[in-house]
Amino acid sequence: MPGIVGYGAFIPRNRISSEEIAQQWGKDAATIQRGLLLKEKSVPGLDEDTITISVAAGRSALARAGIDPQKVGALYIGSESHPYAVKPSGTIVLEALGLGPEIHVADFEFACKAGTESMSVALAMVEAGRVDYAMGIGADTSQGAPNDALEFSASAGGAAYVFGKEDLLAEVLHTYSYTSDTPDFWRREGEFYPRHGGRFTGEPAYFHHVMSATLGILDRSGHKPGDFKYAVFHMPNGKFPLTAAKRMGFSQEQMEQGWVVNLMGNTYSGSSPTGLASILDVADPDDLILITSFGSGAGSDSFILRATDLLPEKQDLAPKVRDMLNSPRKYLTYGQYAKLREKIIVND
């Protein structure tokens, strides 16, 4: 099967701490941090959106791939915060990356799963022989209503993957998807903030789909949790992925590198793809890697990858996820955060 020939990620440099948000709404910061395992989250600037994050991640992916951008025959962007309601993010991203115009482009949506959805379709296009290379991106500037639990996690960032058949950094060995109609989280047309079903987002939604997809791909591939050096599951908060991992027999050590949510927040479509990028930043040849996404609505995509001998020489060709997480430029007050997220109504 084809695999990844280039990858890249981008995380905006502004941060707001869980403590600052808790203080704003009269909540106990220690309880929030203990319950959600979130220390801080990234916040996009007024000039950052899904398109700019996709371009930054895409440029890093092309730098690692080292290919002629004109050979990329398909581009898919998964997000639930595409800046336009009607007009693709992909057309702007392809121009900025120097792709096309002979290219197939689409914007995808599937709540937080849209990123791995774009990766799945990009991989399939290459596997089918329709194109030499295809890029799949997951990126979001996530929305969370003020004084809602989501406000502690909804953040910004994303990752891009170039798939091809030669010079692989990581082979894709298996894929598997699990989907059902589960109304755990939604946003109706014209509504600014999403709504969710509170505790219903846990067992019947996140855990059922993440575990069904993960156990499904393990069953089909014949692998056991102990076979993997690294695993990453969608990170709506800090607690859910670690709980799912423990239930299925994955260790804290396997989860650590991809568990970026405590510093980054939940980048929705960019969540598990950015966790995977963090893993690829440090993985050694032959390491087995498992990724399972989750999108409300609901569904999960699982991939099993194996790092190749080529990966180590590509890791330093673009910014690494942990370096971006560990070098925030500015910590925001809640007032500054509200301004950047355009939560304050001003005159035209």
Binding site: R13, N14, G45, L46, D47, E48, D49, I51, T52, V55, A56, R59, P83, Y84, I92, E95, A96, G98, R329, K330, K339, V346, D348
Partner: protein, 129 residues
């Protein structure tokens, strides 16, 4: 910015496409049909490196309406390694720290929105390297 003009400027704004005089080698951004240095009309296309150095800068405290929420912000004349100079916003830092000699990366950013219902205009801004 009217959509047709914005569309024409996409190669320069999105990919930093510039012109290089085939006779004297001067790099011009945005590209021109005639070299202002030697009057040659023989120009070739080059892509600028996404990095530059601040030549001079200022801080905007009273901006045009569409940039009201961004003030105060730094504007700088930046020179790329190819020798092209242009003015750009410098972001993700305290604007007071922007000054001559500062090394920048040029990142793809939203430049402005045409009101609440118009198009979104993208381009490059400087970020401290």
């Amino acid at each position: 910015m009217p959509s047709p003009r914005y569309h024409r400027e996409i190669p320069a704004r999105y990919r930093l496409e510039a012109g290089k005089c085939s006779d004297c080698g001067k790099v011009l951004y945005p590209a021109r049909k005639v070299c202002p240095a030697c009057r040659s009309q023989e120009m070739e296309k080059v892509n600028l490196s996404p990095k530059g150095t601040v030549v001079t800068s200022t801080v905007i405290h009273v901006p045009p309406d569409e940039f009201l929420n961004e003030a105060p912000y730094a504007m700088a004349v930046v020179e790329t390694p190819e020798g092209a100079r242009f003015m750009t916003q410098v972001v993700d830092c305290d604007p007071a720290t922007v000054g001559p000699g500062m090394e920048l990366d040029l990142e793809f950013r939203l430049i402005q929105k045409e009101g609440n219902s118009g198009i979104l205009c993208y381009g490059h801004k400087g970020v401290p390297a």
